[in-house]
């Protein structure tokens, strides 16, 4: 589950897709060198780079 997002450093687009505090994010696949990361959030399937993923603070559930 997403605990918090560093709103200063992430584009609005990420929020608009549904990456918001309280939503569940699931990591489905990780490319070699751990970048990019294939995630499922808010019923959307996205691939994002590591630098962006690092701005999302999650809580393991």
């Amino acid at each position: 589950m997403i605990k918090a997002i560093n709103t200063e450093n992430v584009p609005l687009k990420l929020i608009e897709i549904g990456c918001m505090a309280g939503n569940i994010v699931e990591v489905l696949q990780v490319a070699p060198l751990a970048d990019p990361i294939y995630i499922k959030v808010n019923d959307s399937f996205m691939s994002i780079r590591r630098d962006l993923a690092e701005q999302i603070e999650v809580e393991l559930i």
């Binding site: 584009p11 808010n42 780079r49």
Partner: protein, 701 residues
């Protein structure tokens, strides 16, 4: 006739283009927005017999806040009433599977005050996925007309047309209350801008766009004047509040039976994005594409080539001999042949690329390749243009269109011509057989083949290296983030694939074809004309020269051809620029051949043959030996061979890096939509080639 303006908006991968294709069919036109590389798709459709509508398909977006400068230009259609695309009706296309996310954009469009229709695409999939929607209630809550569509089955298109006609009665009030974000702030805005659409007022404050008659608030009062990070925080909050608003509505109107939802996605993704098998499959796919563009396209290309050379010969034989016939037969028809030659490759490549895009596989490619391509300023999708570039740069540069990020797209287009295209092969073969001995390295590796492989590698390294440099030099218009949707796997819709292919071929012929044709005619003129005292009397001068010797008719003819090329305008230019090429080790004959091969690299061999009195109708495969023998005997005044090792290497390097192809110049102009980048590429590549060749020759000499 009455005419309406419709704009289609929606998230990426919701089948917007399918609906656009279903509405417009072949009545569509794809162009560029002024100054940017985003495609503008527009078409016409008949709503009834008497009422026409123009339809504009906006690029897929998650929200009306543009995430790039290019997107901003496209979205102007929704902001600026004076924009030629400003709509009478907006159709928001959404897919049933991810209604929540899709509706975010809908509420924004609705709040801008447009008459809006909600098109629910892939409605035929609802049962299979266990989705049920209370349409009547949703219509009421969203104050809109909902049309169920299945673009794949061509269902609901007529209902959509009818809905557009009936649309005027639709409520155009705001549905989302901005005050839920920050009551005080938006209350104040409302007071300061009475009688204005509050959402437009707010968007003006975020500096996304300026609306007519609304100016951003300037105030020394810090309560009112928000700084950038406060604005951004409010935008974030707006998104969250909108989602809450949508969730409330969907709770009552939307249900999904998760037990019914069979998802093939994960099964496919587990293999296709696998750390090992993903790459293996991708390599197989790329080999298939490469093979198709390289091998399969060869047959229709030979056919087109033969057709136009027959036509040229036929015209020459039918029309009376003269300047005009020469222009038609050898200038225009040969030029047209040069344009049409590339059509099979472009058609095949885009047929395959469309399938990869339609199925959703392309996004997986991006996922797999992103990390590897990133250091070179390239995109995961750049692999397709780069690999296609080993067949031909023309379709390859066009393939870069599928890259969304403008900077990565530009870099991909600029570096693709470094890849060793098939036209360079004859040049390489001749030079390699001249300077590399036919020996085996370690007893079993043929040295010539090794050098040939090295040339391919050099092209690849050149492309990546240039990409790395360019990524440092070119500035992005704003920081771009990598957020790629991984769409569900779908069967491709043949109509979309074929329309895309048709459109790419058409845009090539119309856009780049005319430049190629014009340049070909100019080159033809320079190559077949010259000052009358030398060029005009070539036959007499040469015949006189050979009068004492016994020469066959063929030898004489070849000698005349050589004399003519030497004294044509391009020959004169070649001899004039010889000093420029001399430090690279080229004499005037090579200089002429290098210059003329700008029409197409393969011309190099043919023109060398002409310059050495071998006649123009040589084939590298059949007569390669003869050319090589002749060239090998060629000596300088001091007795050293012209085609020395140093000169050969210098020539190889020059051909590896120089922008030696006018068709590529034409396609770069067409695709970048800018002469600046076209000239930059030409100068960058050729300049680099010159320096590398110069250094190599001076060291090896």
């Amino acid at each position: 006739m009455k005419s309406l303006k419709i704009v289609l908006v929606g998230n990426p991968n919701v089948g917007k283009t399918s609906i656009f294709n279903a509405l417009t069919g072949l009545n569509q036109h794809v162009g560029n927005y002024p100054g940017v590389t985003i495609e503008r798709k527009a078409g016409t459709t008949h709503l009834t017999k008497d009422i026409k509508a123009t339809v504009v398909d906006l690029p897929g977006t998650y929200s009306i806040n543009p995430s790039s400068k290019d997107e901003e230009v496209a979205l102007k259609a929704l902001y600026d009433p004076n924009n030629k695309d400003y709509p009478d009706v907006v159709v928001v296309v959404v897919e049933v599977e991810n209604l929540k996310r899709n509706l975010l954009l809908f509420t924004q469009i609705k709040d801008l005050g447009f008459p809006t229709i909600l098109a629910l695409n892939m409605a035929d999939q609802m049962d299979k996925k266990g989705i049920s929607v209370n349409v009547a209630l949703l219509e009421q809550k969203l104050q809109t007309k909902i049309v169920m569509i299945s673009a794949r089955k061509n269902e609901g298109i007529d209902t959509l047309k009818q809905a557009v006609l009936d649309c005027d009665q639709n409520a155009t009030d705001n549905i989302f209350d901005l005050k839920s974000i920050d009551a005080d702030y938006f209350q104040t805005l409302e007071m300061l801008y009475p009688n204005q659409n509050p959402y437009k007022v707010w968007l003006t404050q975020t500096k996304v766009f300026a609306f007519e008659g609304i100016n951003p608030l300037v105030s020394s009062n810090t309560e009112l004047q928000k700084n950038d990070s406060e604005i951004k925080r409010l935008q974030h909050k707006e998104t969250i509040k909108r989602y809450q608003f949508i969730n409330e509505i969907l709770k009552e109107t939307y249900a999904i039976d998760t037990t019914k939802a069979k998802d093939f996605r994960m099964r496919f993704d587990r293999i296709l994005t696998h750390k090992f098998w993903g790459y293996v499959i991708f390599m197989v796919v790329m080999l298939l594409i490469y093979g198709s563009v390289f091998e399969l396209a060869a047959y229709p290309m030979d056919f087109v080539d033969g057709l136009f050379s027959d036509l040229s010969a036929w015209v020459s034989s039918v029309l009376p001999e003269g300047k005009l016939t020469g222009l038609i037969a050898d200038g225009i028809i040969v030029g047209l042949g040069g344009v049409m030659m590339f059509v099979p490759q472009i058609a095949i490549l885009f047929f395959l690329i469309s399938i990869l895009e339609e199925t959703g596989y392309m996004s997986r490619v991006v996922f797999l390749m992103d990390r590897l391509m990133r250091p070179f300023g390239l995109n995961g999708k750049s692999v397709v243009p780069l690999v296609s570039g080993t067949a031909c740069a023309i379709p390859a540069i066009m393939a870069a269109r599928n890259i969304e990020n403008p900077k990565e797209r530009l870099i991909t287009m600029l570096v693709t011509p470094f890849m060793t295209c098939s036209a360079r092969i004859p040049v390489y073969i001749i030079i390699i057989s001249l300077i590399i001995p036919q020996t085996y390295l370690l007893g079993f590796i043929p040295l010539q083949a090794l050098v040939m492989t090295g040339m391919y590698l050099l092209g690849f390294i050149g492309a990546l290296g240039a990409g790395w440099v360019l990524s440092k030099v070119i500035k992005a218009d704003r920081k771009s983030y990598f957020i790629i949707e991984m769409p569900t796997y779908k069967l491709p819709i043949l109509k979309n694939v074929l329309l895309n292919m048709y459109e790419k071929v058409l845009s090539y012929i119309v856009g780049a074809g005319k430049i190629i044709l014009a340049l070909s005619v100019v080159l033809w003129f320079l190559g077949s004309h010259g000052p009358s005292d030398t060029f005009g009397n070539a036959e007499e001068i040469v015949t006189e020269r050979y009068v004492q010797q016994e020469t066959s008719a063929e030898q004489l003819e070849n000698a005349i051809a050589e004399y003519e090329l030497e004294h044509s305008y391009i020959g004169i230019i070649g001899r004039t620029v010889e000093p420029v090429f001399r430090p690279l080790g080229y004499d005037w004959k090579v200089s002429i051949a290098v210059l003329t091969s700008f029409a197409a690299r393969e011309v190099f061999v043919g023109n060398l043959a002409v310059l050495y009195n071998l006649g123009a109708d040589l084939d590298v495969e059949e007569d390669g030996g003869r050319i090589v023998d002749t060239l090998a005997k060629e000596k300088r005044a001091d007795g050293t061979p012209v085609y020395s090792f140093a000169m050969g290497i210098s020539l190889l390097l020059f051909y590896a890096f120089a922008m030696q192809c006018l068709s590529t110049v034409a396609i770069t102009k067409k695709e970048t939509n800018s002469w600046k980048w076209t000239v930059f590429q030409l100068v960058f590549m050729t300049g680099f080639a010159y320096i590398v060749s110069l250094v190599a020759y001076q060291i090896l000499k």
